[in-house]
Point group: C2
Chain length 223, copies 2
């Protein structure tokens, strides 16, 4: 029984990592589509989202089976229920990539209001945070999770920078730029929200690892 | 044992409804603060969010205890794991009320760019959707959940209306209005995202009720 559960948990981790890889690709593809205003590429992100939605359901079913058939205890129980929450976060991150793709479709056919500098930076940060948060989860690595949480500040700063520049240097100076600037401002917010989801995952990891510490050192409970 | 589980599920439902009531209050308080640009009232929404964060943790602990001690099966198992996902949705909705409160703080001291008409409408819709989605969950009412999902279209339309008006009638006509119009545009997006969360909850409910139908009529499985 024990060996089965270990193997199934391993399968669950692999599946979550696979889902994470697809989600990271959605993020990068949506922003690549933005850089060159490629509507076909944006459409593809929207189409690919269906597969990610299905993966969320699959994670849920895997977890429900594990809960029903293996009746796991303590840290395994927490790990499995967190996997269900994390699959929702991953699915919502993919939805935000779809949001970015929709902004691309709004912008297609019009010239970009400005060259993209901080948005690609924020994209790299978002991808790194999602990847690290998920790695931290499957490896129960609280240090890595802590690093993800610290990066969230940087994401807020980059988003504010993009927003301030778009408002002060473009929208307030040239009314004809407004309708092209608003979608970019929203892209920065979508990306920052992706970072928020990564932060949520990282916070869950720290909670999970703490529970494990408590399990192994019960004297730390209620101390 | 059965009677205990029923009672504990009842307690869980009551607690979720209580959490839902506080979340609805956060939404309405954040928009009331917006209407009169009251920074103290906005601050209070931000302060009150801590209690809601804690409630999410409490729901998780209640659910983990139920899973560990009662080892529930089938629909009860699904109900409990969904309660954990829904508590996260409620917590994120409260975070969006905090986002609205932060937009209020950005706007304080400046006159509102326009009288609020569609934003209060969108607020009422968001509150109704959250309330109905949660009621649908605790009563396993698929019809009510279906109604919530249908309302999401209306939320999208109201948000687009607010955005279009702010861009075309204010920002493009008066550059000095931009910095006061952007926060309002974002408030409409925060409210629409609250409606998205309510829709997510409603979709979960339909999935849950379907599982129950399948449990009671196993002939419908794989038919």
């Amino acid at each position: 029984m024990e060996r089965h559960l270990d193997q199934e948990l391993e399968d669950l981790k692999k599946y979550l990592l696979k889902m994470g890889t697809l989600v990271e690709e959605s993020i990068s593809e949506s922003v690549e589509a933005l850089k060159v205003l490629d509507s076909e590429r944006a459409d593809q992100v929207i189409i690919d989202d269906k597969a990610i939605d299905e993966m969320e359901n699959n994670v849920d079913e895997m977890c429900l089976d594990l809960l029903a058939l293996r009746q796991p205890m303590a840290v395994d129980l927490r790990f499995i229920t967190m996997a269900m929450k994390i699959s929702t976060d991953l699915e919502r991150i993919a939805d935000l990539a779809v949001d970015i793709a929709q902004r691309v479709l709004e912008l297609c056919g019009k010239p970009l209001v400005k060259p993209l500098i901080d948005i690609p930076k924020l994209t790299n940060l978002a991808q790194q945070m999602v990847k690290d948060a998920l790695d931290a989860f499957v490896n129960k690595d609280a240090d890595l999770a802590g690093k993800v949480i610290l990066l969230d500040n940087q994401a807020d700063k980059l988003r504010n920078l993009v927003q301030k520049e778009l408002i002060e240097d473009y929208m307030e100076k040239d009314p004809s730029a407004v309708s092209r600037a608003v979608p970019l401002l929203l892209v920065a917010r979508h990306l920052e929200r992706i970072c928020d989801h990564a932060t949520n995952i990282a916070e869950d990891v720290i909670y999970l690892v703490k529970a494990e510490v408590v399990k192994h050192h019960p004297e730390k409970l209620g101390g």
